[in-house]
């Protein structure tokens, strides 16, 4: 009797967990906003030229997230928004990495030129 009662109780608990987990997701307004912010930030970096594919992917997913939001498919909206955010973050990180590499390469070149000039300065008649 006691064990049967426990069985019923645990089944009820299980179904309650399932209900909370699946059928009433929160409206992912915050996730969509974060995706938009990440895209805006990536747009300001060199991403439009240095990581156009990732940035385009982020934009498309952010649009899909908004569509899903309007159709009240919160689960889908949340996933698209989260993916759009990481895509945009990756686009920005790649762009920043590219720009830092370019700066380093330019500096190396400048140093080479300076060294070259200095060396030629010694031998040339003045």
């Amino acid at each position: 009797m006691r064990s049967a009662f426990a069985l019923v109780g645990s089944l009820m608990l299980l179904s309650a967990v399932g209900t909370v987990g699946c059928s009433t997701p929160r409206k992912p307004a915050q996730e969509v906003a974060k995706a938009d912010l990440a895209i805006a930030s990536a747009n300001k970096s060199g991403a439009p030229t240095d990581a156009p594919l990732e940035l385009q992917l982020a934009r498309e997913k952010a649009e899909k997230a908004k569509s899903a939001l309007q159709s009240n498919d919160f689960k889908l909206a949340r996933r698209f928004a989260e993916q759009a955010q990481v895509d945009a973050q990756l686009a920005e990180a790649k762009a920043e990495s590219e720009s830092a590499r370019a700066s380093a390469a330019e500096l190396e070149h400048t140093i080479d030129v300076l060294r070259d000039e200095a060396e030629r300065g010694i031998g040339s008649p003045r």
Binding site: L14, Q83, L90, A100, S103, L114, A118
Partner: protein, 281 residues
């Protein structure tokens, strides 16, 4: 009470059992993570991002282990894989930014070296200029000594060297060997001033006819010019003239005066001649 958890454990076991086939997206995320973890650049330059990626991969793994639906595992694996890529990109960015800092220092060093070197060169230039100044001072002193040995005079026309009549036999235009010392000295002097034109003017006393004296003075001037030419002075620089008895220095009434009047004057003009290569044919 222990029995109460039995069905829950059973349900979990069943759920896990259903999801045993591997999820390729999860495997992909985990493979990427392992590569990033093995990359020293990532562990050194993006430890925080790498940690986030690790947490994200673990969440995807746990979702898979829990038996979540494939779409959710796929989604979490996608996020996890992206976070690994972000960590790698941030590691590259940070490494490159570190390079930029290092290179900026290096450039500053090179610029400093160049300035030091320029200062060094300027110092050497100054030393060379000083040595040259010393040398030209010596040269000027030597020149002055030469000129004084030649009894040269600085006049308005230039430097005038007078060769007395003792250098010629009476009535003759050939130079005595004793004149050659002075002329050699003069040729050396002229070699140091290669652009200055030289006038060679012959003079006589009033003994004999004016025509004879004109001719004799011209011949003596020419004799001096030919010696200088043989000593390497360019003939183009030399102009000879015979003044005869027309420009006496002293009275012809005394023997001492006449001796003074018999002379060849060599004038090193302040005016320069164009160098040979500059002259039109």
């Amino acid at each position: 009470m222990r029995n109460a958890w039995m069905p829950l454990a059973l349900a979990a076991a069943l759920a896990a059992g259903c999801a045993t086939s591997p999820n390729t997206n999860l495997v992909n995320a985990e493979t990427k993570l392992h590569a990033a973890e093995a990359n020293p650049a990532v562990t050194a330059h993006a430890p925080v991002s790498l940690h986030e990626a690790q947490t994200s991969v673990a969440a995807a793994r746990s979702s898979f282990e829990k038996g979540d639906d494939e779409a959710r595992v796929d989604h979490l694996s996608y996020l996890a894989a992206r976070r690994v890529e972000i960590a790698e990109a941030i590691a590259e960015r940070n490494a490159a930014q570190q390079d930029v800092k290092q290179l900026s220092k290096e450039r500053a060093g090179v610029v400093l070296d160049a300035r030091t070197q320029e200062a060094e060169i300027a110092r050497e230039d100054a030393a060379i200029a000083e040595r040259q100044a010393q040398v030209s001072a010596l040269t000027a002193a030597a020149l002055a000594a030469e000129l004084s040995a030649l009894k040269a005079e600085q006049t308005e026309r230039g430097i005038v060297v007078t060769l007395g009549d003792v250098l010629f036999d009476v009535g003759r235009a050939e130079l005595k060997p004793s004149a050659l010392d002075d002329l050699n000295r003069l040729a050396d002097l002229l070699a140091k001033e290669p652009r200055r034109a030289v006038l060679i003017e012959g003079h006589t006393d009033s003994t004999g006819t004016a025509v004879y004296n004109d001719e004799l003075s011209r011949q003596r001037a020419n004799a001096v010019a030919s010696v200088l030419t043989r000593r390497g002075v360019a003939p183009a620089r030399l102009t000879t003239r015979g003044f005869g008895e027309s420009s006496p220095l002293a009275s012809n009434a005394t023997s001492a005066g006449r001796q003074q009047n018999r002379r060849v004057e060599i004038v090193v003009l302040d005016a320069t001649i164009p160098s040979v290569s500059e002259r039109s044919p």
